[in-house]
């Protein structure tokens, strides 16, 4: 089962996301705090991280920089799910590439259906890319 680390400070919201993602067949570990999220990531080896940037004490961006500093987690997809619009978040443009973000969802414009679909897309098995010039054998 694929594991998702959910970093969301609001407990009722986190429970809702957890219900929806577990119904979709994922194991979800909820962490409300950036400080503990690194420890949680180390223990559970997530296939995907979903993070709100507005956290108490430490910002989500601080977490992301630390998370990406570990070689094991450089390629783990990170989906930002935030109440801050992307253009005001501080991760727009250059930082998106620097932090290797897989996606950014603005909460007020994100239904549960859209969240599920995005997660499904990010965690779908990657098909090997066809080699350039390869032809169909049929």
């Amino acid at each position: 089962m694929q594991k998702i680390l959910l970093i969301e400070p609001d407990r009722p919201l986190a429970q809702t996301y957890q219900t929806v993602l577990e119904n979709a067949g994922y194991a979800v570990f909820w962490c409300p705090h950036a400080q503990l999220a690194i420890i949680a990531a180390d223990k559970m080896k997530p296939s995907l991280v979903i993070i709100e940037l507005k956290l108490a004490a430490h910002s989500g961006i601080e977490f992301l920089y630390e998370f990406r500093s570990y070689p094991d987690w450089v390629n783990v997809p990170v989906l930002v799910l935030s109440s801050v619009p992307m253009e005001e978040s501080g991760v727009a443009g250059r930082l998106t590439a620097e932090l290797n973000l897989a996606g950014y969802l603005y909460k007020p414009q994100t239904s549960l259906k859209k969240l599920s679909a995005t997660v499904e897309k990010l965690l779908a098995p990657k098909r090997p890319k066809a080699k350039a010039g390869a032809t169909n054998a049929r």
Partner: protein, 247 residues
């Protein structure tokens, strides 16, 4: 420069995104569960309905508190102070916070120390200030508990009334990290300009604290950080009603 109530409106709008999301999600999830009913789904829907009920109540109290603070700022409402029973106000507030506290696995305690003489306050403003402060503390206490990774299953918020040299003090207390007079002072400068002026205290905008701050200021008092045993909190002192004290 914008009026305080305009700056507060920005924080309010930011804070209200979360309860509205809950309402929207509840509707969406209920529809999904109705299409494919399961026992686990029914439990989740029931929990979500309870959550929607309490977060909507909290949102309404926040809007109402903001409206009252703006009316008091612009003089549309008489800020006249009258004798108010602090103990019964705190009792009402504790009852109102109960459902929200349960949603955040928080245990509420009410500590009333000494004889409760009436204080000079605006009844509605005092009630709204303590209620909104309470909602903020429940959220903050929950974050603190989660960040400490200790063995406690529940966070705690204590509503306290006690006497001091200036009068009768009322406030909220918990095992919180990062709450200090410096944080509060800086937050009062930053609010309306920063998305999280109380970032050490809450992940939200802290609108509840600022609404409480505005309401308490309108009653000629001041919200200050305070200690209650091992607990940290925010409290305000109100002058006893001399007229009734003499009777």
């Amino acid at each position: 420069m914008a009026a305080d109530s305009e700056l507060l409106l920005l924080l309010l709008a930011e804070q209200l995104k979360t309860p509205w999301l809950q309402v929207a999600y509840a509707a969406e999830l209920s529809r999904q569960q109705a299409a494919i009913p399961t026992a686990a789904g029914a439990d989740a829907t029931e929990r979500l309905h309870t959550t929607v009920e309490v977060v909507s109540q909290a949102a309404l109290q926040l809007i109402d508190g903001y409206l009252l603070s703006a009316q008091l700022e612009f003089g549309d409402t008489d800020p006249g102070l009258e004798p108010v029973s602090m103990s019964s106000t705190l009792y009402d507030v504790a009852q109102r916070l109960d459902g929200y506290a349960k949603a955040y696995d928080c245990q509420l305690e009410l500590k009333l120390q000494g004889r409760s003489a009436p204080v000079m306050a605006n009844r509605r403003a005092l009630d709204a200030a303590l209620t909104n402060l309470g909602y903020s503390f429940i959220e903050a206490a929950h974050h603190t508990l989660q960040s400490r990774e200790d063995n406690r299953l529940h966070s705690n918020v204590t509503l306290v009334m006690r006497h001091n040299a200036q009068g009768l003090s009322a406030g909220m207390f918990s095992q919180l990290d990062g709450l200090s007079n410096e944080l509060l002072k800086r937050a009062r400068v930053l609010y309306g300009y920063a998305r999280q002026p109380l970032s050490g205290f809450t992940s939200g905008s802290g609108a509840g604290v600022f609404v409480a701050d505005a309401l308490i200021s309108s009653m000629d008092s001041r919200l200050k950080t305070s200690r209650y045993g091992e607990l940290t909190g925010l409290a305000a002192t109100f002058v006893p009603s001399r007229q009734l004290a003499m009777v």
